[in-house]
C-alpha cells in the first residue's frame, strides 16, 4: 500500500506512530515508528507528516541491491543487507530507522496507520 497524507487534517495525536511500532516491532514505543509527526506551534499552528511515499531513493543507493520494489512497495531483503545504512542516510524524509538488531527498517505498506487515523490524515493512495 502506498500512503498519502492530508496534513491539514492531522491533529497531532500520534496514534499512527503508536500502532506502527506495535505492528512492525511488537513494542509500545512510538520512537520506533516509521512515520513522524511534527507540530509547528505556537505559530502557525500546523502539522507536518513525514512518511514513506515509496520513492525508491533507498533502493537506488543500496549497493547490495537489498531493497527491491514489488507492486509499488520497496522492501528490504535482510539476507542481503550489510547494515551499511546508506538507505537510512539517503532517505529524503528521514523515515528509515535503525531497529534494535542494528538493521534498517522502513515502511512496509501495512496500512495500519491508515486504518486507525481518526481524521483520515493518512490514507491509502
Amino acid at each position: 500500500m502506498k500512503l498519502t497524507v492530508k496534513e491539514e487534517l492531522c491533529s497531532g495525536c500520534n496514534v499512527c506512530r503508536v500502532v506502527c511500532a506495535l505492528e512492525n516491532f511488537s513494542v509500545v514505543r512510538p520512537s520506533r515508528a516509521l512515520l513522524q509527526i511534527k507540530g509547528n506551534f505556537p505559530d502557525p499552528g500546523t502539522y507536518n507528516i513525514a512518511y514513506c511515499n515509496q520513492c525508491g531513493v533507498c533502493a537506488d543507493v543500496c549497493l547490495e541491491e537489498a531493497i527491491s520494489e514489488t507492486d509499488g512497495e520497496y522492501n528490504i531483503d535482510y539476507n542481503l543487507c550489510t547494515q551499511c545504512m546508506d538507505c537510512v542516510d539517503s532517505c529524503p524524509f528521514e523515515v528509515i530507522i535503525v531497529n534494535d538488531s542494528g538493521y534498517p527498517a522502513k515502511c512496509t505498506g501495512c496500512g495500519k496507520c491508515t486504518e486507525i487515523c481518526p481524521r483520515a490524515a493518512v490514507s491509502a493512495r
Partner: protein
C-alpha cells in the same frame, strides 16, 4: 524485580536543592492498591508530607504521575496527573492535563516523578531517558509559559515534551497553572506556584524506550477495536467538531452558565461565544492530545482591539468564567483573555472567577479606582487583561487577588465573602448550581475544592437520566425547566465521585466515556491485556473509593479544624435568587444542603463532621492513615 506490565517500572525522585536524583522501582503494592495517576499522587503526598508543611516551602512536593494505561494504544491515553499540598486550599491538590507529556515520561522509563527541595536559581529539569540534569535557566525568568516552551524546544529539540510555568507561577500566584504543548494546562490548585517556589520553570522529557505489555498482540488488537467502536459512536461526529465548547448553548438553555460573577446562570450573548463561533471565527487546526480520536483542542487565532494571538481553545470552562462570569461578549475577546492567562500561567477558571469577583467588588464600591489603579467594569477585555497582569506580577491590588477570592474577600471585607465563589479556597468552575442540587453537592464535597471533574451530576439534575453529555446536548431542552429535586441525588454523586476520578488513576481521558458514550467494559479488557491483571470495573471503582477516603483524610490531616463547615458554598448560592434566565428566582437553601451533606456523610461512612470513621478506613485498608 517484579515485572509490572503496563507500567514503565521505575520512578524518579529529584531533590532540586541538592541535585540528588534517585531512580527506584515502582512498588507493585502501590500499583495494586492505587493504580496510578491520581492514586499515586494521593498516596505519595499523604505519606510524604507532615502536618504543618508550608505549601510554598521546600518540604512540599510536586508529584507528576502517569497511569497503567498512559502511553498505550487506546483512545485518550495521554493524561498526566500533578499533585501537591495546595497553596490555594492548604489541603489536597491535584490537577491533570492532556497532551503528550505523560506518555513521554513513561517512554523515558518512569511511572512518576517527585520533585522536592528548592533550586538555588531558576532551573529546568531535563530528562533524556536515563540522563537527568537540573539546568539553570535564569534567562527564562518572567517569560510566558508558551514562550518558554518554544525557547526550550528550540534549545533541546522538537522531540522533547515540556511542561512550563509562567510569571504567575514564578510569583507563586495560588491559582497559577502548569502549561504544556502550547495550550494544554494542569490548571487547578496552584501546583505551578509550588513549582515556582522550587525555582523550577520547566520539566523537559525525551523518552524513546518501550513500555512492557503482558500481551502485545492482544493489546494491539483490542486497542484497534476500541478505535473502531469510538468511530461508530454518534458522539464521534457530533462532539468532535466543537469539543467542550459544545456545552455552551446547552448550559444556557438549562440555566447553569455562570454569568456576571454568578449573579445569573444565563448569558444573553452566549451564541457569540459558543462552539460554532470558535469554528467560524477562530479555528486554525484541530489539536489532539496523545492518541485522542475526538480532539477537544481547537487551535485558533484571535484578533481584538487589545491584541491578536494564536491560542488553543477556549474550552468550555474558559468560556464560562471569562465569557460568562466576566461578561466578555465575543469569542475573540474570550480567546484573547484565554491567551493572556496561558502566557502568564494563570488557571483560566480561577482567574476568570477572581477577575469577576474584583469587577463586582468595584461595581459595589467595595474597592475603588484608587485601590485598583483604574476604573473597571464587566465586559471590558482591557480591564480583565489589566487585572490578570496585576495578579501575575503581584502588583498593587494584584497581590491581594493573587491569593484567590477567599483571601481577597477577607481583605476587602464588607460582606464580599457572600459572592466570593469558591469552596475550600478553590474558585468554582463553569456550572452554576442553584437548580442543580446534585451538582451543588459535587462541588461542596470535591476533595480539591469547587471543581467539576470529580462529579458532574449536572446532567442527572437536569434530565434525571444517566445519558452521556453528547446525548444531553443533542436532546436540548424544551419548555419550562422543572425544579430539580434533591431526592436521590446523593447516591448518584457518590457513584460519579468514584467513576470520573478512576480515569485519572488509570491515566486516560474520561471524555471518551462521559461525552462520547464509550462502554467501560472495554477498559476491563484492555487493562487485563496490557497488565496481565484481571480487574473488573467495580473492583477498579473500589480502588477509586479508597483514594476518595484517603484524600478526605489528607485534608483532615493538613487543614486545622477541617470538617463539615468546609463543605458549604458561598452564601450567594444559598440565599440570592438567580437574576435572569431559565432558573430565574431559584436558589438552594442552606437547610437543603445541610440535609444533603448529612445523608452524604452517612452513606460515605464518615462521621457527621465529615471525617472518615475508623471502620471505613479499615474497610479500605487505610487503617494506618
Amino acid at each position: 524485580m517484579i515485572m509490572l506490565n503496563g507500567y514503565a517500572g521505575k520512578n524518579l525522585k529529584i531533590n532540586v536543592s541538592s541535585g540528588e536524583c534517585r531512580v527506584e522501582n515502582t512498588a507493585p503494592e502501590l500499583a495494586e492498591k492505587y493504580l496510578g495517576g491520581r492514586g499515586f499522587v494521593a498516596r505519595l503526598l499523604y505519606d510524604g508530607l507532615e502536618p504543618g508543611t508550608d505549601p510554598l516551602g521546600e518540604k512540599n512536593m510536586v508529584v507528576v504521575a502517569t497511569g497503567p494505561l498512559s502511553g498505550h494504544l487506546l483512545p485518550g491515553s495521554g493524561k498526566t496527573h500533578f499533585g501537591s499540598l495546595s497553596p490555594a486550599t492548604g489541603g489536597y491538590g491535584d490537577s491533570n492535563l492532556g497532551g503528550h507529556f505523560g506518555p513521554a515520561l513513561k517512554y523515558a522509563g518512569y511511572d512518576y516523578m517527585v520533585i522536592e527541595g528548592a533550586a538555588p536559581k531558576l532551573s529546568a529539569i531535563v530528562i533524556d531517558n536515563d540522563q537527568i540534569r537540573i539546568v539553570e535557566y535564569e534567562e527564562l525568568q518572567g517569560k510566558g509559559a508558551i514562550e518558554a516552551e518554544k525557547e526550550l524546544k528550540a534549545r533541546l529539540g522538537e522531540d522533547y515534551q515540556i511542561i512550563t510555568i509562567g510569571p504567575a507561577g514564578e510569583n507563586k500566584v495560588v491559582f497559577s497553572c502548569i502549561s504544556h504543548d502550547f495550550g494544554r494546562q494542569a490548571g487547578r490548585c496552584g501546583i505551578a506556584a509550588v513549582m515556582g517556589s522550587k525555582n523550577i520553570k520547566a520539566v523537559a522529557v525525551r523518552g524513546t524506550k518501550s513500555i512492557p505489555v503482558y500481551n502485545p498482540a492482544g493489546a494491539q488488537k483490542k486497542g484497534e477495536e476500541m478505535y473502531r467502536v469510538c468511530f461508530s459512536k454518534p458522539g464521534f461526529k457530533t462532539w468532535t467538531p466543537y469539543g467542550t465548547a459544545s456545552l455552551t448553548d446547552w448550559a444556557n438553555e438549562v440555566g447553569v452558565f455562570p454569568t456576571r460573577n454568578f449573579q445569573s446562570s444565563y448569558a444573553e450573548f452566549h451564541k457569540q461565544i459558543n462552539g460554532q463561533a470558535i469554528r467560524d471565527r477562530l479555528l486554525v487546526t484541530e489539536k489532539g492530545c496523545f492518541c485522542c480520536p475526538t480532539p477537544c483542542g481547537k487551535y485558533g487565532y484571535a484578533k481584538t482591539s487589545v491584541g491578536n494571538a494564536y491560542v488553543e481553545g477556549p474550552e468550555y470552562e474558559s468560556i464560562a468564567t471569562l465569557g460568562g462570569s466576566c461578561c466578555l461578549e465575543t469569542i475573540e475577546e474570550v480567546a484573547y483573555a484565554n491567551y493572556v492567562c496561558d502566557q502568564l500561567g494563570l488557571d483560566t477558571i480561577s482567574a476568570g472567577v477572581v477577575a469577576s469577583f474584583a469587577l463586582e467588588c468595584f461595581e459595589k464600591g467595595v474597592i475603588s479606582a484608587n485601590d485598583v489603579g483604574k476604573g473597571i467594569s464587566f465586559g471590558s477585555l482591557e480591564d480583565v487583561v489589566y487585572l490578570f497582569e496585576k495578579i501575575a506580577s503581584r502588583d498593587g491590588i494584584g497581590a491581594v487577588l493573587a491569593e484567590g477570592v477567599r483571601h481577597a474577600a477577607g481583605v476587602f471585607g464588607q460582606h464580599s465573602d457572600h459572592y466570593a465563589i469558591q469552596v475550600k479556597g478553590l474558585e468554582w468552575s463553569g456550572y452554576e448550581c442553584r437548580n442543580a442540587p446534585g451538582m451543588m453537592l459535587s462541588y461542596m464535597t470535591a476533595d480539591v475544592g469547587a471543581h467539576h471533574n470529580r462529579s458532574w451530576a449536572l446532567g442527572f439534575d437536569i434530565s434525571q437520566s444517566d445519558a452521556d453529555v453528547s446525548a444531553l446536548i443533542s436532546a436540548g431542552t424544551s419548555g419550562e425547566l422543572p425544579l430539580s429535586s434533591p431526592e436521590g441525588k446523593v447516591d448518584h454523586v457518590i457513584s460519579m465521585q468514584h467513576s470520573r476520578p478512576l480515569f485519572d488513576a488509570l491515566g486516560i481521558c474520561r471524555l471518551q466515556t462521559m461525552e462520547i458514550g464509550f462502554e467501560t467494559a472495554h477498559y476491563e479488557d484492555v487493562y487485563e491485556l496490557i497488565t496481565g491483571r484481571k480487574l473488573s470495573w467495580p473492583e477498579m471503582l473500589e480502588i477509586s473509593e479508597r483514594i476518595w477516603h484517603l484524600t478526605r483524610q489528607f485534608n483532615a490531616k493538613h487543614i486545622d479544624g477541617f470538617g463539615r463547615s468546609a463543605d458549604f458554598p458561598p452564601r450567594r448560592l444559598m440565599e440570592d435568587p438567580v437574576t435572569t434566565g431559565p432558573n430565574k428566582g431559584r436558589f438552594l437553601k442552606r437547610e437543603i444542603l445541610d440535609k444533603l451533606l448529612s445523608e452524604y456523610y452517612e452513606k460515605r461512612g464518615w462521621d457527621q463532621n465529615g471525617i472518615p470513621t475508623a471502620e471505613t478506613l479499615e474497610r479500605f485498608g487505610l487503617e494506618k492513615v
